[in-house]
């Protein structure tokens, strides 16, 4: 469970370009929930995601995961419980390293990267089995450099890599924005499946209202760094696209 209390973040404080990105935000996320963050540009969605990931640090307030405060520890240390999927399908993988090497790093997300050779025959089998659930035939292309796969394939692999090692929270920043509709659906279904199977928290920033209807257990709308709508349970399930569109009217 993630608990966020009185979170504040202002960029360019005191200058003409001052932007209040997140303002006195209180929110919590339950395990096994698939949360969708929506809002216009500049509403603070991505900032909130970055604050949870630790790539930016808050001005004040607390963020805790399972009771442990994390707001001041650097992002690379938070990776023991948080994995991220970026909008750019190329950002989550190392293009020149092989698929196998990428998965090796992913398998060590929460562990030390020591001076031993970890890519062996047994590891290859594990990865092949894991990748085969994508049904893209990638299990036969383990030695190929990551950069040679398509955006959709890379995003799917990024998602698998994120969940290859243990984790509590999956942060997705418009993961399907750069993908074709078919790949986008595949990514969303995969995310939904992983959240349900592993009982993790997924928080996804999205601009596609249709996705909010298709997947997720909760929709949170932000505006000027504050929550203006928060819908879950039956209300979320019964929500229709037209109603959702009216939120932005």
């Amino acid at each position: 469970m993630i608990e966020i209390l009185k979170l504040n973040k202002t960029f360019h404080l005191g200058s003409e370009r001052q932007v209040i990105a997140v303002q006195n935000l209180d929110i919590s996320f339950e395990n096994g929930s698939f949360n969708l963050l929506i809002g216009s540009n500049g509403s603070g969605k991505s900032t909130l995601l970055n604050l949870i990931a630790g790539t930016i640090l808050p001005d004040s307030g607390t963020i805790s995961i399972n009771g442990k405060p994390i707001q001041s520890i650097p992002s690379y240390k938070r990776s023991t419980s948080i994995a991220r999927i970026f909008q750019d399908p190329t950002a989550g993988t190392a293009p020149d390293l092989s698929l196998l090497d990428n998965f090796r790093l992913a398998s060590l997300r929460t562990q030390k990267k020591g001076l031993r050779i970890g890519v062996d025959a047994a590891f290859r089998k594990v990865v092949a089995a894991h990748v085969s659930i994508l049904d893209m035939g990638l299990e036969n292309r383990l030695n190929q450099p990551m950069g040679s796969f398509s955006g959709g394939q890379r995003q799917a692999l990024t998602l698998l890599m994120a969940t290859f090692d243990k984790l509590d929270v999956l942060l997705l920043d418009e993961p399907t924005a750069a993908l074709d509709p078919k790949s986008a659906v595949r990514i969303l279904e995969l995310t939904q499946r992983i959240v349900a199977e592993k009982k993790i928290i997924a928080i996804m920033v999205t601009h596609e209202l249709r996705q909010c209807i298709q997947v997720g257990t909760r929709i949170i709308q932000l505006s000027e760094g504050q929550i203006i709508r928060d819908v879950a349970g039956n209300t979320k399930t019964q929500l229709r696209l037209e109603e959702l569109a009216n939120w932005f009217a």
Binding site: A53, T55, P74, S75, Y76, K77, S79, T80, A83, R84, F86, T90, A91, G92, T93, A94, P95, D96, L97, D101, N102, R104, L105, A106, L108, R109, T110, Q111, K113, G114, L115, R116, I117, G118, V119, P145
Partner: protein
């Protein structure tokens, strides 16, 4: 025979420098030119210590340590003070010129009367053959260690750092620390090269490192281009490619000088060779992919 072997020995001695450049440029994607300074630093430490009677293996170790510290300094300036990588390298390289002079005490130290690596081992008695054998053995050991290191989990994290920083950060790697380690490692290899070259040529000169970074860059480019042409993409092949690049480069220079070219034109020719190999992938790309 002697002509070729001498060029090959120097090429082998410089391949550690090539690996240093390969690490920073190709693995970390950082243009580091601390090289000119750390190469001379290795040679300077070697000259002073050998003159004082320190055994060659300790000398090699201390040279690497010195180069490592120089690289670490560049890394700290770059990552902690957020100074552009190229500028960080230039700053440390400039400062090292004075440091090297202080270490040496004068601008040139001959190493004719000291017990260095190539005096310690003389398997055949013919010095130019012995040198080539010793260098081949030493560089094989260093190269194998480097290949092993790059294949480990730590090495993977290192290779990913220069490739996709956001990814490797999300995988729990402190990329700043990784860059500092990488620059330290690269410059310790460079200083190692400086130490070996000083012992091979039996002198250390304060200016021996000037422009050496271009040799390293060129060798890496030649190696990468060749490995690309022969479709050898594995990390072991790329490390071997750097050695081949160093050897080709040294042989080209040797032939040029032997053909009676004006030695004053050497740097011009060096730059020309590098330009040639840097541009080959462009031409090739035009033909192969479009």
């Amino acid at each position: 025979m002697q002509f070729y072997l001498t060029a090959i020995s120097l090429g082998l001695a410089l391949s550690a420098l090539g690996w240093g450049i390969f690490l920073t440029l190709k693995i970390f994607n950082i243009p580091d030119i601390t090289t000119d300074g750390s190469f001379t630093l290795g040679a300077a430490i070697t000259a002073v210590q050998l003159t004082n009677g320190t055994p060659w293996y300790l000398v090699l170790f201390c040279s690497m340590l010195g180069g490592g510290l120089a690289g670490m300094l560049t890394g700290v300036i770059h990552t902690r003070l957020k100074v552009n990588a190229l500028l960080s390298g230039i700053l440390v390289m400039t400062a090292l010129y004075s440091v090297n002079l202080m270490v040496m005490g004068r601008s040139n130290i001959p190493l004719l009367q000291v017990n260095h690596l190539f005096i310690a081992f003389q398997p055949t008695g013919a010095s130019y053959i012995d040198q080539a054998i010793i260098l081949l053995a030493i560089m094989s050991i260093v190269g194998l260690c480097l290949i092993f290191m790059l294949k480990t989990d730590f090495g993977l994290a290192m290779r990913a750092t220069g490739n996709s920083e956001s990814m490797v950060n999300a995988m729990g790697v402190n990329t700043n620390r990784m860059k500092i380690i990488g620059l330290a490692l690269a410059n310790s290899l460079t200083a190692f090269s400086g130490s070996i070259v000083a012992q091979l040529q039996q002198f250390t000169d304060i200016n021996m490192g000037i422009g050496i970074v271009i040799f390293g860059l060129g060798s890496v480019m030649i190696g990468e281009t060749l490995m690309d042409v022969f479709k050898r993409q594995g990390i072991a092949w790329r490390i071997i490619g750097v050695v081949i690049g160093c050897l080709i480069f040294r042989l080209v220079i040797a032939f040029t000088l032997a053909s009676g070219a004006d030695p004053n034109l050497l740097k011009l020719i060096t730059a020309g060779v590098v330009l040639l190999f840097v541009s080959i992938p462009r031409f090739k790309g035009k033909i192969a992919f479009r």
